[in-house]
Subunit: 155 residues, 3 copies
């Protein structure tokens, strides 16, 4: 990590920026998908939101919990718990000056695992498909964190 | 993104740091506000927390779900789902060397939209006020992500 | 913040990288701990997950809410709400070129407070132990955010 200031200008950093932006966008689409489901299924978390749709029902009945919406929200929550750590650790990892091919391998495996995780969650694929996708992403981040700690170590 | 190392020292990066710190502070205030409501309304998520207040009630009755607390928590969760992506994408965006005025526009619109979103959520303003504030913030982040991906593209 | 490009190569930045990686790893362990509890206690959020364990029970009864799992999840959620802001603010703080000893003090107090918070939450220590650990971490982040805003100020 001796010449970190120059590391920010490398192909590793460009690759990190690209993959981080892609996987964050994927996460934000969960937000849009939740809203889409809420509007089409008329399932809301707040009474004032029921004015967004036309309905002949009692509006208070639209404030309820729906299993499909909850599934998307759990998927989104798992993204928050895994993608944000990847982005933070990945940024520090990119600054440690890793080998380009090692870095690309980490970024591609992580981003791929999260896309598989999302599909497995939304379609409710039989386990352990989703579990495996989750654990692969987790250990990819652990591997990057190991390099950050061993390279930067300053306690 | 050819001379990214110099970008970190620019007015765009200073502006990003300022707006990112402000909007993260706003998000953290939701945490304090939740605690304030829990203490004043005597509504807790854990039995051991009920010792923090004086009460003549059965302490187990203080472990309950309260609609006002849940509203603040949903607002906080929406902050996590939108402000964290803004901060990550905004950092990478600031390093792509954008025009200062374009960057300030993005940062100001996003931070403004989140303050409006918070007020709309807490006061339960009629929709689509909160929905619009949310979607404006989302598309501001998408716009920055588009620049990051097209500038840095390295797959 | 005049020569920020050189700041990224300092002992402060190495220290930030180390503490940020440690505290993010601690947060990710909550994810593993939740999965461990779900598998050993046979408590799941999705019907398809019940195939991961052998059981003679009706599988639909394994899709339920368990107080121990919910406790770990609340602890994890509090980590997300506090550790992510620390990491973002801490990165910007490290780039403002603070004194090494002041920076180490901030990083150590924050990371220590979050380890105490986790133990206090999981073991359900009497309050205000967990509340104090939380507020110490919160004000450490506020202190760093104050330096970021006053140093970088560009609105």
């Amino acid at each position: 990590m001796a010449e970190v200031a120059h590391m920010i200008d490398t192909e590793v950093f460009l690759a990190f920026s690209t993959y981080a932006a892609i996987v964050i966008l994927k996460m934000m689409l969960m937000d849009l998908f939740t809203s889409y489901l809420r509007l089409t299924k008329k399932v809301f978390a707040n009474l004032e939101d029921t004015n967004l749709v036309k309905t002949t029902e009692d509006r208070r009945k639209c404030v309820r919990v729906d299993p499909d919406v909850e599934r998307v929200r759990r998927c989104h929550q798992n993204d928050l718990e895994n993608i944000i750590p990847f982005v933070v650790i990945g940024l520090l990892y990119a600054l440690t000056g890793p080998d380009l091919y090692a870095a690309l391998l980490h970024f591609r495996v992580f981003v791929g695992s999260r896309f598989i995780h999302t599909v497995a969650y939304l379609v409710a694929l039989p386990q352990p498909s989703r579990g495996l996708a989750w654990i692969v992403g987790l250990f990819t981040t652990f591997s990057m964190a190991y390099r950050v700690i061993t390279t930067a170590l300053f306690l």
